[in-house]
Amino acid sequence: MKAYRLLIVGLFMLVTPAIAQQAKVTTFTLDNGMEAVVIEDHRAPVVTHMVWYRVGSADEAPGKSGIAHFLEHLMFVGTDDIPEGEFSRIIESLGGNDNAFTSHDYTAYFQRISTEHLELMMTMEADRMHDLILNEEAVRTERDVVLAERTQRTDSDPGSLFSEQRAAALYMNHRYGIPVIGWRHEIEQLNLTDALEFYHRYYAPNNAILVVAGDVDPADIEALAIKHYGELEPSDGITSRVRPTEPPHLAPRRLEFHDERVSNPYIIRSYLAPERNTGAQSQSAALTVLAELLGGSGLTSVLGKALQLEDPIAVSSGAFYSATSLDPDSFGVYVVPAIGVSLQDAEAKMDKVLTQFLIDGPDPAQMERIKAQIRASEIYALDNQNGLARRYGAALSIGLSVEDIGNWPNEINAVTADDVLAAAKDVLVLDNSVTGWLMKEIAE
């Protein structure tokens, strides 16, 4: 009953870094449909073992918000073979760490442990894919934990509440508008039956991806995967992930969020933006570069230079883009004004910078620096086993292929100034946006 981390698109989220081409990656698929990726890292006898399910909060039924995340917590209760409360205890007794996380698009479970215990991790993960055992009391207690989590992470934080309101305004039809953790009044009603129905429908090998990263031989991993995951029955409840889509957005939406606990007011705008799709990532690549240009690095980016140096009205500013999602997600910009500068002025200056950028286009020298950094991030990524494992798991669980992941750095490298400008013109359209002001007092 873990789950310390929810992946919610954050205000200061960085753009998705590119994939390490040099990582040695092997893939295979089991007869029952389970996909697998092995990433070799032979520096230390340590392994990251992950199972990703292609189901997240945006796949929930109306009225059941939070069930994907709640089930994630309940997956640690026990199985026919593992007594209640023992799952994580066994892993700790072997010196391993385990946890899980849920997003709009996927739910993932992982252990980091000495390579010698990998086989047992596979046994345990395969076991809880089909033999989870729950009871009313465990469900009640864990629901209280999830409510406490919501209180801690959302209800006690004005920035999180504001972010929820903005997402709800951005999506008029798609379930990305509903928080991953769920609305409180719906979490309170979630029960054992909801959890088991969701589990039986979505937790099956043909909806799962195995990712193993570490000091391993891919042939050994394939043999172990066949042995432990290969016998699991596929589910016939797995259908293609077609979700309600957005109608045309015909008017810019605005909201003001007031909370007495706000210390630094800010203005933030999100635009609906296309995501990476298999075989079609070029616009996403351009948007990734655009986010870096506008606000990826603070002072040296377009917004930072204009609003923190030339006409210093801001304490900080930035841009963000979530490229790796199943359905269209968002591109955003924000400005935290200096003391004495109103949100209205900050927004006007921000808009002036954006307008000017659409005329001038990118600075070639800045483009070069950004590409150099993205190329370097390929190499730095090799030093982060867990990060690589997550990158592959997340991309595969939203329908990208290993080839798409491999091509991503090339896509970024191929982006031209014209591509950036075209993508900016497509996406930075006010009708597709929500502008929010987070503030302490009611505006005069």
Partner: protein, 433 residues
């Protein structure tokens, strides 16, 4: 399959970093660093610690060290702020500058192909920072917003109050970032003085991991650090927890209460430190800990509770924290007190000890999972004055701990009556005392 099974024997005794791989490198100029060569990825990670940190700044310059460290990459030598940052980006070097009560720390990860120009940039930042007025004003405004955010963040509010109760007029009582008033009074001139006091070559430790040879490193050490000055300020005096047991409440409009709690702790160089560390694992870290089992798993009163040893350089605390709804926080605090009392009254069981030992020894290699992480460990070991073979003996130390050891240390360290709680929120059923 065969391959995997044969691996088991090989790695059962494997250590995260072979001790023979840690080399002590000394430059001609007499600067030392610990190095692990790792040539499989063309990058180099460097972790640099300067002992002293924010605690050595004068009383009337609170926040100076934090602000100074934030300005190191905002203009140095021939570069103004923009030029410095753009040069860093062009080399794809990654620098981070940080301040704590005990140290100023710098972490750098750079491409092997750009090693020399990257190190030259780092040298300029460390030895020739400019503290231009315009950059100073800008970064001070950012610190101002950080302070204002901390003033409404329950965890920061609780931590700040706890430290001021614990440390009275010792520098540890101060907030790292200073106060709105103290930073308003600072000047670029203060930054130069603070820099001279905080970044000195006799209080320097360095850990390096990556695609670099000892010979190359020895040269770089002199290039980067040789012009740093000698220390002129004193390291601050040792101190102890000054607050007594009790409850403080800071009213804050929130559906939940955050509690920060603790009492006197144990210093890192105390012979009983490792025993206390194992004991605390049983009480308050991880899923199976007593606090997590009683408060979260059995009763669902919290999403997060834990306890930890906080060994600063000049004082030590034994601390913990919890978040719980305003209705439940009183019950949660009672349970924490019960667990604290239970530990002194009844100690731990052999079964709990073995589980803790298995976890702590088995998970130790997981810490060594990147060049940057290992560089940071190498620097940290030197800062704590631990021997260069510490990594190979550490698990033996954990395994040598007995139930009797823990029960003895629990009696010495765990003081339920001295627990001080600072609660931020609108807690029900509990009052300040």
């Amino acid at each position: 399959m065969k391959h995997l099974l044969s691996l088991v024997f090989a790695i059962a005794f494997a250590l995260p970093v072979n001790a023979t791989e840690i080399q002590k490198v000394t430059s001609e100029g007499g600067i030392t660093a610990w190095l692990v060569e790792e040539h499989s990825i063309p990058i180099v990670s460097i972790d640099i610690l300067f002992r002293g940190g924010a605690s050595i700044e004068p009383d009337d310059k609170q926040g100076a060290t934090y602000l100074m460290a934030g300005l190191l990459e905002e203009g140095a030598g021939q570069y103004d702020a923009i030029e410095f940052l753009e040069a860093t980006e062009a080399l794809a070097a990654r620098f981070s500058f940080d301040t704590s009560r005990d140290l100023v720390s710098i972490s750098a990860t750079v491409l092997r192909e750009n090693l020399n120009p990257s190190m030259d940039l780092l040298r300029v930042a460390l030895t020739e920072p400019r503290f231009d007025e315009i950059a100073f004003d800008r970064v001070r405004a950012q610190v101002n917003s950080i302070i204002r955010r901390a003033e409404t963040n329950p965890r920061s509010m609780g931590g700040s109050r706890f430290r001021s109760l614990a440390f009275g007029d010792h520098p540890y009582a101060r907030d790292l970032e200073g106060t709105l008033e103290s930073i308003a009074a600072l000047s670029p001139q203060d930054m130069h003085k603070t820099h001279q006091a905080a970044l000195t070559h006799d209080r320097l430790v360095v850990g390096v991991v990556g695609d670099i040879t000892p010979e190359e490193l020895a040269k770089l050490l002199d290039t980067v650090f040789s012009t740093l000055p000698e220390s002129s300020s004193e390291i601050v005096a040792l101190t102890t927890m000054q607050a007594s047991g009790g409850v403080d409440i800071i009213d804050h409009p929130s559906p939940q209460s955050v509690a920060i709690f603790g009492h006197a702790g144990i210093m890192r160089d105390d012979p009983d430190y490792i025993i206390a560390y194992v004991m605390n694992h049983i009480l308050g870290t991880g899923f199976t800990s007593r606090l997590n089992q009683e408060i979260r798993e059995k009763r669902g009163l919290t999403y997060g509770v834990g306890s930890f040893l906080a060994p600063y350089d000049r004082a030590a605390l034994y601390m913990g924290s919890i978040s719980s709804s305003n209705e439940n926080i009183a019950e949660a605090i009672d349970l924490i007190r019960d667990e604290w009392a239970q530990l002194t009254d009844q100690g731990v069981t052999q079964e709990e000890l073995e589980a803790a030992q298995k976890y702590l020894t088995g998970s130790y290699p997981l810490r060594f999972d990147s060049n940057g992480a290992i560089a940071s460990i190498l620097a940290g070991l030197q800062f704590a004055d631990l021997p260069i073979d510490y990594i190979t003996t550490r698990n033996d130390g954990v395994n040598a701990v007995t139930v009797e050891d823990i029960n003895r240390v629990a009696e010495r360290l765990v003081q339920p009556e001295n627990l001080r709680f600072v609660i931020v929120g609108q807690p029900e059923g509990i009052t300040a005392n």
